[in-house]
Symmetry: C2
Subunit: 435 residues, 2 copies
């Protein structure tokens, strides 16, 4: 993961008058589309505003995202001037929606990016907690290494502590009326394999209070051997013969320019137009997908907003160390936060274009995911429609239309799960979402 | 459809001694695989043998195909010498299985291609009849044009007879103990469209006895307008603006040689070997598909024989003209007989290889379907397997394996139905069949 702060030509330093003027420039002129995700500059601005509201206090940012204008506003903006809307009509004012953790409370804050003011602050009173951040996962999973009972557990098993790696597991909710914001920490053994998920140190689990960042419970219930490293390696460079099939170089090429255009986050291709957004929790968001109706000579809305609302991973193993593994990979870990930088030529074909994504780390600083999205025309050699007709006198008809579609791809890698999310747009008007 | 008789270097003319010697050459040396479909020479030989058995009689060939050796024989041949079997071990003797129609009877004949003798002849006594042939469909569908009541029906509707086209519809079986081999003939109107299927001349149907090749029943029940031609045209060259999306040139390329090899009808690719056969009724047949087991260092059989056994099209419309439309597109019309010549670059991607197919026409003469099969490596820019690992110290792992598979494609066009049949082989060991 590369940390980077990029300026989009905006400068939030200086006095308030300058700030407001520049904000007007940035928030509206530079954002032709009201669904555009927060830029690094906007994320930084939100951080400064929120931190300044709680000086010298230890707060963590769990969720910073675009506070999307409501549907009537967006539709009104969209319909106001369909041909020239980007220039002629300003989008609705931009706002950010923020969840921070402060003094064991979750605060929901709305920041108006047009005026630079905090519009509202609310203490969340309901069940549940905000998403884990990569920052706190990093801290939590180091705690066992300075915890004597854990070191003793490793010694008892004869494991080399330098080869141990720990992960944070959310704990589910089983109807308790009062809960702490806590996770369980369980560990695995590397030692001669990259595939440490195949080598769990079973029987051992710590409970960590995330607000106090302390181990508040520990269990070493039983000792079983760690599974062997042998046969678990998956890195091609480390594998020894015999090798699997050698797939000879085959690729997708496009002699002409790509058939799609990307303007900021707006994509148009064939008879489709749509917007590609991003959220640290949901990952990719497709908005305002419309298809051109040849008969009516106008775009018809097909999808207002689409995203993965949740990905639930219930292990359904009743044992002490696994019963609570009822993981929400989207809302507990973040399909956006865990998006991987896509590898050109393998994660996506050679004709792909890439988009970056930015989210706020737990310290509020923008984090860049380079090549977070790829967009490409997909052609697998398949047929969209065909007909052979031999019953017309003096003519044999062979009409074949190739099956080409447009794919927006992201990969969210949550621990050992790599979720490939493909939004596929077909000229027929269908949208196919595959995870 | 192109008619052509090709010689595979065999010559069945001449006296019996020469014949047998040449047959030995052709049937065994030239056919390394016992599942290879009958060659044009073999089809011609079968025709001569069968016709010579019924001199001066009017017989029609409805089904001529390889009489495949039984499974133990094939498996024994396959296992006898896995490395050099093509040269070292002769396959079992080749036989042809034939169904002819003669004097209103269906004869099942077996011809031994090794000895050149007719092994058995049986009169079929059960329900049902052999497949329609393209030859008889051609004759049947012309009968109405010389049938006065039909001409009167067209006049009554004001239709131009030169723009009328008729089709043969099998009649189903509704429990009758005695049936004739007959079809119904219904017609459509072209006049300004290639899409005559959209313009049925409803209310009119003839019944034709296929053995006597005569209209034995006729019905003109009601007159309704033929649907308009407007908006039914599908030929790209005939369409007028506005046009649908313009999909810019995108293609699949392979710099290296293809990853597969085709030896006669045997295909090997990646960790797969299999045989591609052909039958006038079933169309494509995949046999002896085996995958190489890296651990055991040998091929493991996955599929002994796979083909589309039937494709049933019940219209479920209770009206007089449609209730009997309970069509078996495979066994009544022939998924093989109706296979279309595949169009390079559209039906199949540029990296495809093609195979021809041959069947016996109703006169027994071999008919060639050029480019009946295409075989290609399929790559859609998809991911077979991936993992990103950021939890190894001083290393970020991005391992991505591209999803490449091998496809054997055929298209069977039965009237207005174009069935694309893809047998897809994946390196993972799975076989995916999609129609």
């Amino acid at each position: 993961m590369v940390y980077s702060i990029e300026s989009y030509g905006c400068n939030y330093e200086g006095d308030v008058v300058v700030l407001l003027m520049l904000l007007w420039n940035c928030a509206e002129c530079k954002h032709p589309h009201p669904c555009d995700p927060l830029t690094p500059s906007e994320l930084s601005f939100v951080r400064t505003k929120v931190q300044n509201s709680y000086p010298n206090q230890n707060l963590t940012f769990h969720y910073v995202t675009l506070d999307e204008p409501n549907k009537p506003e967006i539709l009104s903006w969209q319909s106001s001037n369909p041909k020239t809307k980007a220039k002629a009509v300003s989008p609705p004012p931009r706002r950010a929606s923020v969840i921070v953790r402060l003094q064991k409370q979750s605060l929901e804050i709305t920041v108006d990016l047009s005026t630079g003011s905090i519009v509202s602050t609310k203490v969340y009173q309901g069940h549940g907690y905000p998403m884990l951040t990569l920052g706190e996962i990093g801290v939590v999973t180091q705690l066992p290494f300075n915890y004597e009972p854990f070191k003793e557990s490793l010694r008892k098993r004869g494991l080399n502590i330098s080869q141990v790696r720990c992960g944070a597991f959310t704990m589910g909710w089983f109807g308790e009326t009062k809960t702490k914001r806590s996770v369980k920490v369980k560990c695995q053994y590397r030692n001669d394999t990259a595939n440490f998920y195949a080598r769990p140190i079973e029987g051992v689990a710590a409970v960590v209070d995330l607000d106090d960042m302390k181990i508040i419970g520990y269990n070493d219930r039983y000792v079983v051997p760690v599974p062997k490293a042998e046969g678990t390696e998956y890195r091609a460079s480390k594998l020894k013969p015999p090798f699997g099939p050698n797939l000879k170089g085959i690729t997708v090429t496009q002699d002409a320019q790509p058939g799609f255009t990307i303007d900021a986050h707006s994509v148009s291709w064939a008879n489709w137009v749509f917007h590609v957004g991003f959220d640290i929790r949901a990952g990719p968001i497709i908005s305002l997908a419309s298809i051109y109706d040849l008969q009516k000579q106008k775009y018809r809305p097909v999808l207002y907003k689409g995203f993965i609302s949740e990905l639930f991973v219930p292990y359904q193993d009743p044992t002490e160390e696994w019963y609570y593994a009822t993981i929400f990979d989207t809302s507990e870990y973040g399909f956006g936060q865990f998006m991987s930088s896509l590898q050109p030529l393998t994660d996506c074909p050679p004709n792909a274009a890439f988009l970056d994504a930015y989210y706020a780390g737990s310290d509020g600083i923008p984090v860049k995911i380079a090549n977070a999205f790829c967009i490409f025309e997909k052609y697998a050699g398949d047929i969209m429609w065909r007909h052979t007709e031999t019953e017309i006198p003096n003519e044999v008809i062979n009409e074949v239309r190739s099956d080409v579609s447009l794919v927006v791809r992201t990969v969210s890698t949550v621990a050992n799960y790599d979720y490939i999310t493909d939004w596929e747009f077909k000229p027929s008007g269908s949208i196919k979402l595959v995870v």
